[in-house]
Structures are given as C-alpha cells and as structure tokens.
Amino acid sequence: MPVAATADSHATLSPTRRLDPAAAAIELKDVSFAYDTRLILRGITMTVPRGKIVAIMGASGSGKTTILRLIGGQLRPKKGKVLVGGQSVADLEPDALYALRRKFGMLFQFGALFTDMTVFENIAFPMREHTDLPESMIRDLVLMKLNAVGLRGAAQLMPSELSGGMGRRVALARAIALDPMLVMYDEPFAGLDPISLAIVGQLIRRLNDALGITSIVVTHDVYESLKMVDYLYFVSEGKIVASGTPAEVRASSDPFVRQFVDGQPDGPVRFHYPAPPYHRALLANVE
C-alpha cells in the first residue's frame, strides 16, 4: 500500500485530521511517573482515538515503554490520570483491572513467547485461561489467528525454532487471540531484518483495520511508522516534544523532529553525555 494512500484514506475518516477527544479510547492527562526519585515521565498528555494507530516515538530510555505499562495498569502514575474508555486505570480494583486487561493485547519487545510451550499452545494460552471453549473450537481459533499472520504451518514448532520475525508474528497472533479492543506494541520492529520489518508493519495496519482495534506502537523506527500510523507523538526526557500526523511530521521544521526523522547524531538530543567542559577536564591532569 503506497504511503500517501494510507494517509489519505484516513483523511476521509477524520476530516479535520485532528484527534477528537470524544472518540478517545485512551487518554493520558498530565501524567507524571518516577521510579523512586528518578523522574521518568513529566506531565504527559495524549489521546488515542478509537480505531486508530498512534505511534509513540523517542530515543531509547525516554520513557516510552513506561507509558504502555501505565496504560496496562502495571504501574501507577505519581500524578495525573490514565483513562481507558473513560475509567481511570490506577483506581480500578484488581478484579476490574484484570477484566480490563482481558480486552488488551500486548506485543512485547522480543515477543515474550512462553518458551516451554509450542506456538499453538502460546496462542491458545489466553483462550484456555479465560474461556471454557471446547478444544475443537480453540483449535479452530488458534489456526485462524495463525493464518492471519501467515504461520499456520509453524503451529507445532517451539519458540526457540522460530526466527526473530516469525516470533514477532506469533506474538502478534497471541496478542489478538481474544479479539482485544486495544493492542499495544512495544518496539515491534526491534532487531528485525527489512523484510520481516515490512511484514510486521503491514500486519499491524491490516489487523487494526480488519478487526477495528485501537493500536499504540512504541518504536524508534521512523520510516516504518510514518508508513502505517495515523498520528505520532515524540517523547524526549519524559516530555512530549512534538506530535502530528505523518504528513505534518514529514513537513515539520521542529528541530527535534528533524533530528529524529533525519537521523542526525547531534541536535536537541545531545551527542555528549552531560560533562564539564572538555578543556577543563584535560587541564585537570596538568594541575
């Protein structure tokens, strides 16, 4: 699918090309988070509309994955609110939180497939845990999900026998096993060869549209995300520094966005780790 076509097809769905908060599946309102005293997120506000793919981009260690964990309720914000379907995740009772998580799918950075189960059992796992479906129906459902990612033939392999890209696709099939309303992707492209990368990117888009899912993609892969997402947020040092549709991002003159998109080694994100001036460090030896 050509890049422009993707963007245009969405222009018809949301004429203003702005995100409408009323249709929001996920909302973060002024969310801050810290591990002990180390501040990870400071005042993040973002909206993820229903049925869209939103990318959260940023350098490694900028707090992107933390945002996913806040949405999943594995962490609680120090300040602000994380709303999923209007409910504050942090205020849910454990049972309600677990009920909510059943509507979530998550693709972890390296797949996080259960190494002691076959591909088939990995995908059947959430079905066996949360439903009382008969074995024959589980079999049909698993094969259907595997077929969607093109790996029906790999059902009886162990995760250790899969290549990186195949593992990611199996994990994707597992993430959509229970037909979730929201799928979160944590670095879905990390460590993939260009072909697998394109396959996974295309799958995310296709599954999103076919199943009516809302998707959040955390990544630092600019080219792949520009091809497939509806909206991008740029996170740096725990803050949102820029956001926009793919077309806006391409046209943006914001220095951070430019550094990120063009892959410049130095810019708003410094090449040097904070240090006293070089000449002083060199002279320290002389004294």
Binding site: Y98, R101, F104, M106, F110, F125, H130
Partner: protein
C-alpha cells in the same frame, strides 16, 4: 583520633543494624509472598497438570542424583559406623546407626541440599529467565497472575517432591549400608535388620524425618521462586539469583534442621 574511632564504631553499628532490619524485612517479604502463593493455591490446583509437570522437573529429574548419593552415603556410613562400633564389640548395632542417622538427619538434610542445587537452582533460573524475557509481564498483561500460573505449581511441586526424595535417599542409603555391612563385612543379616527394627520407631523417628523433609522442601521452593521472581531481568541478574538460591537455601536447610531437631527430639523421652 578517638572521634575517628567513634565514627568507625558508629559505622559498624549502623551497618549491623542495617543488616538486621534488612533481614527482618526480607523475612516479612517472604511471608507475604508465601501468603500470596497460598491464596492462589486453589486456583493452581484446579489445573493439576501444571503441578504434575513441575513434579516431573523437580522430582523425577532429581531422582538419579538422589538415589546415587543415598547409596554412597549409606555405604560410607556403614564402613565408618562399623569402625567405631567394633571398638565396643557392638557391630550388630550397625543397622540402627545407619538407619537412624539416615532417617532422622542425612536423608532430609543431604536430600534437601541436593534438591536445592539440582531443582532449586533450575526453578530460579527458569523463573528469572521468564522475567528477563518479559514472559511474566506478558502473562500479567493477559490478566493471568504469574504467582498462580508459574509460582504456585513450582512451590507445591517442591513441597510434594522433597519428602519422597528424602525417603528414597534414606531407603537407598539403608540398602547401601546393608550391602557393605552384611554383604561385604559379613554382619549377620538377621541382626542387622532386627536391631534396626527394634531401635527405629516409626513414630517419632521416621515421621520427624518426613516432617523435616516437608519443611525443607517448602523452604527451598519458596526461596527458589522468590529469587527467580525478584531476579534482575538480565543475564547477570539471573545467574547471581541462581547462585543465591543455592547458598541461601543450603543455609536455611541447616539452620532449620537445627531448630527442628531441638524442638522434635528433646522431648521424646517424656
């Protein structure tokens, strides 16, 4: 000079205090973790095959090392015991010496130490690796509690396997003692078994050994699952957690053995 010494003393005291409070906090944490395991036990037992699978990994796969060690320990006990008993012309008491030391002490303790290094370390490594590869997080995000699905079956498998392994260790040890004492040294078989039966009581000697092995099994499994669950999610984190499991659970076995022995055997004659 003296203020420096005082400073050192304060530092030592502070470190000591920190160690003590840290240890107490650790105990509290373990108790809470055990509480969580027990809470999820009914849920874990509903899928019995998970526990059965873990019994395979911690029990069945430990069989060879347990049986071999039991046999050798029994044979050595028999040789050493014979050396001592001969001085008092009490060779026919060899059966009691071998059986009592195995059933009351060596079966549970050495069995427990072997279990810690064979099965305990494997449990820690497995759970630690699941954590490092985000499998536990993935489970949580699928609304499945890892304590119910991963931790509880491994804990109960240890509690079930350990007494069986300890009994097998003792039984093979006694068989080893019989081989050396009767077959090699030539003590009368009737005296060997007869003296043993007269001197070893099912209650309390054997039952106390079984109680010990259940306690050790619970302690080793608890330490192993906690170390795995708390491991730093890196390669070094998992490997150091594995080492810690073996060290901590070995010390725990020996300390618990002392405590249990004090409680159990002192009052027998009353």
């Amino acid at each position: 000079m003296s203020s420096e010494a005082t400073g050192d003393l304060v530092l030592v005291l502070r470190r000591l205090g920190g160690t003590v409070t840290g240890g107490v906090a650790r105990l509290g944490y373990m108790a809470r973790f055990l509480g969580a395991i027990l809470w999820y036990t009914p849920m874990a037992l509903r899928r019995l095959h998970l526990t059965v699978r873990e019994i395979y990994f911690s029990g069945v796969l430990s069989l060879v090392i347990i049986l071999m060690s039991g046999l050798f320990v029994g044979m050595v006990l028999s040789l050493q015991g014979y050396e001592v008993l001969r001085r008092y012309s009490a060779q026919e008491q060899l059966g009691i010496v071998v059986a009592l030391s195995l059933v009351k002490e060596l079966g549970p303790v050495i069995g427990g130490l072997l279990f810690a290094s064979r099965a305990g370390s494997a449990i820690t490594a497995e759970i630690g690796l699941m954590k490092a590869t985000e499998q536990l997080s993935a489970m949580e995000m699928m609304a499945v509690d890892p304590i119910a699905r991963v931790v509880a079956p491994r804990f109960w498998a240890g509690v079930i396997s350990m007494p069986l392994l300890a009994a097998l260790f003792s039984a093979f040890g006694i068989f080893g003692g019989y081989l050396i004492g009767v077959r090699v040294i030539g003590i009368d078989a009737g005296a060997f078994w007869g003296q043993m039966q007269a001197g070893v009581n099912f209650w309390p000697d054997i039952t106390n050994g079984i109680i010990k092995s259940i306690v050790f099994g619970a302690a080793v499994s608890l330490i192993a699952v906690i170390e795995g669950y708390d491991a730093k999610p890196t390669a070094e984190g998992v490997s150091s957690a594995t080492t810690r499991t073996v060290v901590v659970s070995s010390l725990a076995i020996l300390a618990l053995d002392f405590v249990l022995t004090v409680f159990m055997f002192r009052g027998v004659g009353l």
